[in-house]
Symmetry: C2
Subunit: 207 residues, 2 copies
Amino acid sequence: MSFPSDPLVPARRAGRRPASSRAAIEEAAGELFLENTYGGTTIEQITTRAGVSRASFFNYFRAKSDLLWGDVDVLIADVASRLSVQRHDVAPLDGIRSAIISLVADITPDRIPLAITQWELMGVREDLLASGLPRFAALAAIVQRHLESRCHLAPALETRAAAFAVVGAVAAASELWASGGPERGSFSGMLDRAITPVCEGFARSVR
Amino acid sequence: MSFPSDPLVPARRAGRRPASSRAAIEEAAGELFLENTYGGTTIEQITTRAGVSRASFFNYFRAKSDLLWGDVDVLIADVASRLSVQRHDVAPLDGIRSAIISLVADITPDRIPLAITQWELMGVREDLLASGLPRFAALAAIVQRHLESRCHLAPALETRAAAFAVVGAVAAASELWASGGPERGSFSGMLDRAITPVCEGFARSVR
DNA sequence: GAGATAGTTGGACCGGGTACAACAATACGC
DNA sequence: GCGTATTGTTGTACCCGGTCCAACTATCTC
């Protein structure tokens, strides 16, 4: 049972109901990207197939490239909360590694963004890169904040470098895992192998 | 004295002379960015001030954001040649570190891109980020190629992770150095402090 | 019903980027 | 000097992503 004040059920008070949904637009976009590549698909084509107006697209996404990153943004935002519940007696860098690994363990195959699994089919490399750095920068900022809050010995340069290096390792593992065929190993294992050396390297200067 | 076949002096053979130059456009752009920020300046304003047509802009730059990266692109390209002359008896990762550090040692203050020294004045963060990842990816690819060519023990995952982590450290040091005031330390020293832990961490798995 | 509210839509507009054809200036062989 | 190939410049038309906004529509509550 849900109460009117239940915060989990927004309890719509008024207003017209959404005629579409992120999912519907994402689905239409995914089809078109596979047919015509990302660059060869216009927003208008996407919204037309989804049965919405072009103007509505921007009610659901801030940019076309958001379609490529699907759940990645929410995953990144999730990192912060997973970091905050880390115990204080584990080394900060180890906490970061386990937080990130625990995150990907929760990923179900259907939540993996199309752009990642279909990579080259969509001819999407350049656009992915262009829209990617802000995401990685956001993740790095989260990691760095955590390091600064948990470390006694933590010069700004080293925390920042460690954060960026961790994110770099994550990116490397993600890209390799994404482009790997079906015989690729587990994502968690790859992330571990990529991140652990970074943690070891910075263990002395960031703790 | 220069001979007609001197490859360093292209010895113009025919054709109209350039009416403008990259430098002239960069200068006009720099002024306008300081006056109106990057986002508040149009390509047309830039070319008008430089006394060229808008169409000509794209003879000199592939995109507006190229103006932000000035010499960075040539520096990145330079890394490859500096890596190729590394002796084979130094650890590959150490070679990468010293190649990068030697590179910045050659930077004269006047070659530092405006966008880096004027950072926040130009309100340029988002655009820098958006156009930055392709550059960093290019650098990472160079680093990774070098690792693969020099390493006996080098699984693809680890070389890629090491390359990305190194680039992350470089990015962190660069950003911190760029945003630091006049009392900031030496760029080389900061790079060293940022990269060394990465090299140490990957020394075991990439060699 | 009357509001208030939330969502949709069309249209105007801006600016980056591409494509291309016409034009201008230079070097060279004759 | 004169054609000609070459190189660079310019105007123009166009596409597309993204912003802005005012009009409209459907829903909820009183």
